[in-house]
């Protein structure tokens, strides 16, 4: 259930959706997104050129526009920490993560941070190398390694991939709002990696290994779409201040995009990010799988803050993906 939907529905509607979407069948969990009425999907675009202290105030103002009702709720911030290399913009910047943490706390939420990297096992060491310990006070006390977390088998109702069920970290399933905090990057297998692809970190590495290769064999776009539906209580804040272009998500080069993009529907946020990156969202397969007609879906997205046109910049793509680039 996205935060926009949390605020847009009355309490009874919200609870009906939440309860109706989770049923227990033996030890497996079936989660199906109940169709909601056509609604406007709010996406904020914030022009932000540096990782400075002003980010704290800006994120508070940004969240205020979304009227999140999360006082006393468990909010889980999920950055992208897939790997660390000095000077390479692979991971979500720690200052943005801390600013988001403080912004959610200011709204009365009980906020924590969690990640389950896909290549390396030493998650806390990655976080330390990436500057999380230095930037975020008492980081280790509020962090959960999703790869080593308790797991629950979740039956996938959307059936885009060939997986019928998947083991997910319980912390990600139990929170009231999962906040995907990805880096804005191009991706050599799916075109762009944003808030939806970032959900791969909720899949248990302790069960599937490093990398979580079962997702590759089951189809990356298909699994992204499945996870989007299996983890429906979400929000996204995309770190596009410095993104990555070219051979992402690891071997690309830095791209100064100067934006933060946020909203209560991950698909709406990702589609907006694609447009900012000069990528045609209609050509991103996981968006097509998740929302159907992407062009029609885009009609329901309302931007606030900057317009796409004013912040749009060209992310370089590897030759295999140049066909998705907007002219």
């Amino acid at each position: 259930m996205g935060s926009r939907r949390m605020s847009g529905l009355n309490r009874r509607e919200f609870m009906a959706n939440a309860a109706g979407s989770v049923t227990w069948a033996g030890c497996s969990r079936t989660i199906a997104r109940k169709p909601l009425a056509q609604r406007e999907r709010l996406v904020s675009i914030l022009r932000q050129t540096t990782y400075g202290q002003d980010l704290y105030g800006e994120l508070r103002r940004l969240l205020a526009a979304h009227h999140l009702n999360i006082r006393g709720k468990r909010v889980l911030l999920k950055p992208n920490l897939v790997e660390f290399e000095p000077d390479a913009p692979i991971h979500t910047h720690p200052l943005l993560v801390h600013a988001a943490l403080e912004a959610f706390r200011a709204l009365g939420a009980e906020a924590r941070i969690a990640e389950g990297p896909g290549h390396r096992r030493n998650t806390l060491d990655l976080a330390e190398a990436a500057g999380y310990f230095e930037t975020i006070p008492r980081f280790e006390e509020i962090f959960t390694d999703l790869n080593l977390d308790r797991v629950a088998e979740v039956r996938l109702a959307s059936k885009h991939s060939r997986l019928r069920s998947i083991y997910l970290a319980e912390t990600a399933l139990a929170c009231d709002l999962l906040v995907s905090l990805p880096k804005m990057k191009t991706h050599h297998w799916v075109g762009a990696t944003l808030s939806m692809k970032n959900l791969f970190g909720t899949v248990s590495g302790g069960v599937y290994g490093w990398p979580k290769n079962i997702l590759h064999w089951a189809g990356i776009p298909e699994c992204i779409a499945d996870l989007y539906q299996a983890l429906p209580r979400h929000f996204a804040i995309v770190d596009g201040i410095v993104g990555m272009q070219g051979n992402g998500p690891i071997q690309g080069t830095a791209k100064q995009a100067g934006v933060v993009v946020a909203g209560g529907d991950l698909a709406a946020v990702d589609a907006t990010c694609c447009r900012i990156m000069s990528i045609d969202p209609r050509r991103i397969e996981y968006l097509r799988l998740a929302v159907g007609d992407v062009a029609e879906f885009l009609g329901s997205v309302r931007q606030v803050g900057e317009t796409v046109e004013r912040v749009r910049t060209r992310f370089e793509l590897i030759p295999e993906w140049r066909g998705i680039q907007l002219s």
Partner: protein, 283 residues
């Protein structure tokens, strides 16, 4: 009290983090570390009973009892040894490992590759996957080699020698251009990828006794990583690998890096035991 024993769960297993449910991997490594020091301790017996009780009917072990599938953890459990596990659980575990291969070398994938011309990721030997039905990767392949080498000392399991040779060929074919190993993708879209210390260490351990030029090059890379290594897990595997190759520099001080999981604390103890001449992975 021995710190590892203080972290043992009442059910006999060990968690990754204290207070969490038991998982197979930290249980197996904690037992190996404790058995190297005090094999008769009551906690060791409880841990072994937990392992035996969680073996699946197919002979493999799941990552934790709540997971309904055997996986790469079987190799870690087999490393605990036949004497501790018992002949039957150990033998069924070995047979499960021998049956596993990377999905990229399976019959249907070879047909697909023949039809499409896409042979990416299928070069070299036949390694082991983390999870059944997926591709082979460096760490599960290295751990499976170590498990089968241990099994070969006890009995002549069918197919074991062939799988060992194929596994070693897989590792040698998946070394990165800088000399070490990463998770198993040495090149991505024609670009060289960088090695990781932890995977290089475990691969060197699995290739103990291999005097190939690739292994000598990897030892040079690994020795260069040790002084600046930031992670306890990576440092433990580097030490274990270099010790197995007789290449650990004599002046390297004991590790002072924090072990942030129980599994990493156990690995640090295993590396320390190996530096005293007792390497439970190779004994």
């Amino acid at each position: 009290m021995e710190p590892l024993l203080a972290c043992q769960n009442p059910d006999g297993g060990w968690p990754y983090q204290q207070g969490e449910p038991s998982w197979t991997e930290p249980t197996a490594y904690a037992l190996m570390a404790l058995m190297a020091k005090s094999p008769a301790h009551e906690g060791v017996g409880k841990g072994l009973r937990w392992l035996k009780a969680t073996q699946r009917p197919d002979g493999g072990w799941p990552p934790q009892p709540a997971v309904r599938e055997s996986s790469w953890l079987t190799s870690v459990v087999v490393l605990v040894g036949m004497a501790a596990l018992g002949r039957d659980p150990f033998g069924r575990g070995v047979q499960w490992i021998v049956r596993q291969t990377g999905a990229e070398t399976g019959f249907f994938n070879r047909i697909r590759q023949f039809l499409t011309g896409d042979t990416q990721g299928s070069h070299g030997g036949d390694g082991w996957p983390w999870f059944p039905g997926t591709s082979a990767w460096v760490t599960p392949t290295a751990l499976s080699i170590l498990a089968l080498r241990k099994a070969a000392r006890y009995a002549a399991f069918p197919g074991l020698r062939t799988r060992l040779d194929m596994g070693k060929a897989y590792l040698l074919a998946h070394a990165c251009s800088d000399g070490g190993w990463n998770h198993g993708a040495a090149r991505t879209l024609d670009r060289d990828a960088r090695s990781y210390p932890e995977t290089t260490g475990v691969a060197l351990l699995a290739l103990a006794g291999d005097g190939s030029a690739e292994v000598r090059k990897a030892c040079i890379w690994a020795r260069g990583q040790l002084p600046g290594c930031r992670a306890s897990e990576a440092e433990s595997w580097l030490r274990l690998g270099l010790l197995a190759q007789g290449q650990l520099p004599p002046d390297v001080p004991p590790s002072a890096r924090p072990a942030r999981t129980i599994q990493n604390a156990a690995l640090a103890r295993l590396a320390a035991a190996a530096s005293r001449g007792l390497n439970p992975f190779l004994e």
